[in-house]
């Protein structure tokens, strides 16, 4: 084993930066006191920006680090950027939200940064135990964040439910890791791949893969492990849901990609096929009957996990790159949608029913236009990132001859269009029940919305650059 060099630190620099800023927030919090907590948000903002800068710097120093536990390659870099940007938007959106909800700011921002550390590490870890630890760091932060609306019973329910079921799921994952270790004699992805190629797969391996799939399936909210999603999303603070439904999911998908494809695991095809089909169908059907916007978006996120798994089932390099692209596009549009929902919800999250959105186009043209853009992207209308994301996923699936899944996916997209459109119709074509005041859009939210809207449009108009990165990442992962 080689000694630890400076490069080892560079290769986890974004994580280190975030952790450092998180600690800084914890230290500054008691010094500032509750009344003057604004600077904490600014520290968090700087932290995400610094980690973004660290990621770009890190890009010049790819390679393994920490005795082969971490690996910096195009794949990990891609997800680092996505996670850092999502955290950035969430922090921006939280400025106003926290004051409106009277939520204590110190721990909130610190936990977001710590959570992001875990998610980033999930995407760069190439060793199962470290992956597990990263998964736990990310999960525990989000368990706590889900319960931050202390005075709301729904938030406590959300946190507890997420915690209980989430712990179960990570336990499954850990069990899978143990079995995998037992079968192949290693916890390093590369070594596992070698062992599997050399020795073939035993029933122990199949069991290990299945258990890991259960754990990760829970994290990405894929059917049949999705039942927690609506309740948790409904109760948790809206910006946190914006985070939960995008960044940890992207990270979990990254882990799934590593575990399945980099490790050459067997036996995942039909489970994933089934999970994709079920997630798309149940997610969309569930969303059809919702009247609460957060629950609607929860079901929609299940459906989108399904579309993403279609790309997994395609399993080729194109499929993997489509999945990566989809994760980025989905993160942009969903975090944006939740940014609007967070602000519109108002103090105590009173306005989260669909009917509350009637006449929003008049009360706040900016919020309504932004939400419309994100919803159109979720439908998959051209000139938005969601369109190319779906296109890449379905064309990859077609090339892999998964006609059944594609047909199911297209039918589901049509069903999905209906409930997203219902919200747009409400905002623009119906009048609100009472005379409601215009809604002010604070600077932080405006910046967050602008960033996610720009990303959504960028991916829809010039997808080439990101697609090239995604293809590079896919080949970095597979070779």
């Amino acid at each position: 084993m080689s000694a630890i060099t400076i490069l080892d630190y560079v290769r986890i620099l974004p994580e280190l930066t975030l952790a450092l800023f998180g600690v800084l927030i914890m230290v500054a919090d008691p010094l500032l006191g509750e009344q003057r907590a604004r600077p904490l948000g600014v520290i968090a903002l700087l932290g995400t920006l610094a980690s973004l800068a660290a990621t770009t710097w890190q890009a010049q120093h790819p390679g393994p680090a920490w005795f082969g536990m971490v690996r910096v390659d195009s794949f990990s870099l891609f997800f680092h950027v996505v996670i850092a940007l999502v955290a950035l938007v969430v922090v921006l959106v939280s400025f106003e939200y926290l004051e409106a909800q009277e939520i204590r700011q110190g721990e909130y921002y610190a936990l977001i940064l710590f959570g992001a550390v875990g998610m980033m590490l999930m995407s760069s870890a190439v060793e199962l135990v470290l992956i597990f630890i990263a998964l736990e760091i990310s999960s525990i932060s989000t368990y706590v964040l889900a319960g931050f609306r202390r005075r709301a019973a729904a938030s406590a329910e959300s946190s507890l439910k997420y915690f209980l079921l989430g712990s179960f799921a990570t336990a499954f994952f850990l069990y899978g890791v143990a079995l995998m270790f037992g079968a192949t004699g290693s916890t390093e992805i590369a070594a596992i791949a070698q062992a599997l190629r050399a020795g073939g797969a035993t029933s122990l391996v199949y069991l290990g893969v299945a258990l890991m799939l259960v754990g990760l399936g829970f994290k990405v909210a894929a059917s049949p492990f999705h039942v927690w999603t609506p309740d948790v999303y409904e109760g948790a603070p809206a910006p946190v849901v914006g985070l939960m439904s995008t960044a940890p999911k992207a990270a979990a998908f990254a882990v799934l990609l590593r575990v399945l494809f980099a490790a050459d695991s067997p036996g995942w095809f039909w489970p994933l096929w089934l999970a994709a089909a079920l997630s798309m169908t149940l997610g969309n059907l569930g969303a059809l009957v919702q009247s609460n916007v957060k629950r609607l978006l929860a079901y929609s996120s299940i459906a989108h996990a399904g579309y993403l798994l279609v790309a997994f089932a395609a399993s080729s390099e194109i499929g993997v790159s489509a999945a990566i692209f989809y994760a980025a596009a989905y993160a942009a549009m969903n975090v944006g949608a939740f940014a609007v929902v967070s602000h519109f919800a108002g103090a105590g999250e009173r306005y989260v029913e669909m009917d509350d959105y009637a006449g929003l186009g008049r009360r706040s043209p900016v919020l309504a236009a932004a939400l419309t853009l994100f919803l159109l992207s979720l439908i998959g209308i051209p000139v938005t990132g969601g369109f190319f994301a779906k296109l890449y996923v379905f064309s990859a699936a077609l090339q892999a001859n998964l006609v059944g899944l594609v047909v199911l996916g297209v039918v589901n997209s049509a069903v999905g269009a209906y409930y997203y459109l219902r919200l747009i119709v409400l905002m623009y074509m119906r009048e609100g029940n009472e005379e409601q005041p215009a809604i002010r859009v604070p600077a932080g939210l405006a910046a967050g919305l602008a960033l996610s809207a720009a990303a959504t449009l960028y991916l829809g108009v010039w997808p080439q650059q990101v697609l090239t990165y995604a293809l590079e990442s896919a080949s970095a992962l597979l070779h």
């Binding site: 186009g361 077609l398 090339q399 459109l421 623009y428 080439q464």
Partner: protein
């Protein structure tokens, strides 16, 4: 000067397409002072129209193929190109779009009072999308523009329309959306088989028979495109969304819908169905012609019994567009020339009719025919314009409708006598219901007190109506100005269909 013109030649299509969008972005930044916004929208649309005049001015009528082409890579995998080009067909449809847009701004000057900024924003975005549809020569790019017309139009209907606007907007959206999913499937399938989205490349490959393995799929590809376009035209029996959408839409929405959006359907049939799949088109021409004839007669009969002025004009569109489709699927030079000419005519005449109906609505807030009568007395100028446009719509010689209808019918007679006879009844029907409508609205005594006080046209309304009236006259008197460039373009598409002509009309 020459180098300036030459560089304009290279960039003209991009400029014309995206100028309205740039105007829309500018509009975003302008504060909500309704007057400024209206003027800005007018300036942008007028500027686009003036710029688009460059197209016919520098167009080489005799030269085959597409002109002013731009072809750049947009996305490399899959290979999607930003490929625009104009031939005699698309050029005039673009001009129709840019011609009607400033008039739509004028006609909405007073009638849109609420959410003015949103309205003109949507109108400008819609203009860019429509122009893009006519110019795109990459199937994927075409699809993107095609879909991009959908949202602004649905929002215009749903936000600014009449009572049942939400129902109409959703119906419009769903019909078109479902139709275009089939087209997307066909486009992707074609790409999967050939590796190209490029119209010109695909057309060559299919024509030269380079794609024998595609033979069994041809039928489905043809139908995929056909459904999307037939819904848009709308061809019987896909027409049910049209009366609702037209009736509920605000005036400018109806003008754009009738004037341009429906043409996207007939343009698509001609460009993609006939252009890419000439053999399939020939095989399926009989039943498509039958649907078109049913549309002609059915639309006319329903229009005849409409108690509602705006619905009457809407159903007349079904009838007129049926004639256009019939013309396309006669596969004769005359018929198809006439179909293209009739597309332009219908845009001018029916666009004008919707403007006139909208002007009346602003005064009386009703479309009910029974409420009118004797309007010629209080509104003589309005009545004159209305008569002029009515005559142009029913095809009076020396006005535009005559040229188009004559060409289509002579093509139909060449193709099959029965088509010609049945199609010709459509012309007769249209004269009947339009003139009867005119009589009920304008002649006789003023029965309703409210009509007595209706003011005649304002200066703004006259400015909006004069250009269409002049266009109708010019197109009737000097059709060769248009046909000289339409004919070669149509020839390029129909040429591939020549054998069938021989089969259908005999040696």
């Amino acid at each position: 000067m020459n180098s300036l013109l030459a560089s304009l030649d290279r960039n003209i299509l991009t400029l014309v397409t995206f100028l309205p969008l740039a105007g829309a972005l500018l509009l975003l930044l302008v504060p909500r002072r309704d007057r400024d916004i209206r003027w800005l929208a007018l300036i942008v649309t007028l500027g686009t129209f003036l710029l688009s005049l460059h197209l016919p001015a520098r167009f080489h009528a005799g030269q085959p193929g597409f002109q002013y082409e731009v072809n750049q890579s947009w996305v490399t995998s899959p290979p999607i190109h930003y490929h625009l080009g104009a031939d005699g067909i698309s050029m005039w449809l673009v001009l129709l779009t840019t011609f009607l847009s400033p008039l739509c701004v004028l006609i909405s000057w007073k009638s849109v009072q609420d959410r003015v900024k949103e309205f003109f924003l949507l109108l400008l975005v819609l203009e860019t999308a429509m122009i893009g549809v006519f110019l795109a020569l990459d199937l994927f790019l075409f699809y993107v523009f095609w879909e991009a017309t959908l949202i602004p139009m649905a929002l215009i209907i749903g936000m600014f329309g009449h009572e049942r606007r939400v129902y109409a907007a959703v119906k419009f959206f769903l019909f078109t959306m479902i139709g275009s999913v089939f087209m997307l499937a066909a486009i992707l399938w074609l790409y999967a088989q050939t590796g190209s989205f490029d119209y010109v490349t695909l057309q060559e490959a299919i024509r030269l028979g380079h794609l024998p393995h595609l033979h069994s799929a041809m039928l489905w590809l043809f139908l995929g495109f056909f459904i999307a376009f037939a819904v848009k035209v709308p061809l019987f029996p896909f027409h049910t969304w049209l009366p609702d959408a037209h009736f509920e839409a605000p005036t400018a929405g109806s003008v754009i819908l009738a004037g341009v959006l429906l043409k996207m359907g007939t343009y698509g049939l001609l460009r993609f169905n006939v252009g890419l799949f000439p053999d399939e088109s020939r095989v399926h021409a009989p039943w498509i012609a039958v649907l078109a004839i049913i549309g002609i007669i059915y639309g006319a009969l329903v229009a005849m019994v409409q108690p509602n002025l705006k619905k009457l004009v809407a159903y007349s569109s079904v009838s007129h567009l049926g004639l256009v489709v019939l013309g396309i699927f006669t596969f004769t030079a005359a018929g198809t020339d006439g179909a293209v000419y009739q597309m332009l005519n219908h845009g001018v005449s029916t666009g004008a009719l919707f403007m006139l109906v909208g002007i009346l609505y602003e005064r009386r807030h009703t479309f009910d025919l029974q409420q009118f009568g004797g309007l010629a007395t209080p509104m003589p100028v309005y009545a004159t314009f209305f008569l002029f446009i009515t005559l142009s719509s029913i095809g009076l010689p020396l006005l535009n409708g005559f040229v188009g209808e004559f060409l289509v019918l002579s093509g139909a007679f060449q193709a099959r006598m029965l088509y010609g006879i049945l199609g010709a009844t459509g012309v007769i029907w249209s004269a009947a219901y339009m003139l009867w409508m005119y009589k009920r609205v304008f002649f006789g005594e003023v029965t309703n007190e409210a009509n007595q006080a209706a003011p005649d046209l304002s200066a703004r309304e006259r400015i909006a109506l004069w250009p269409v009236a002049l266009a109708a006259l010019a197109m009737g008197v000097a059709p060769m100005l248009w046909l000289a460039s339409i004919d070669p373009a149509v020839g390029a598409i129909v040429r591939s269909a020549a054998p069938v002509l021989a089969r259908m009309v005999g040696p």
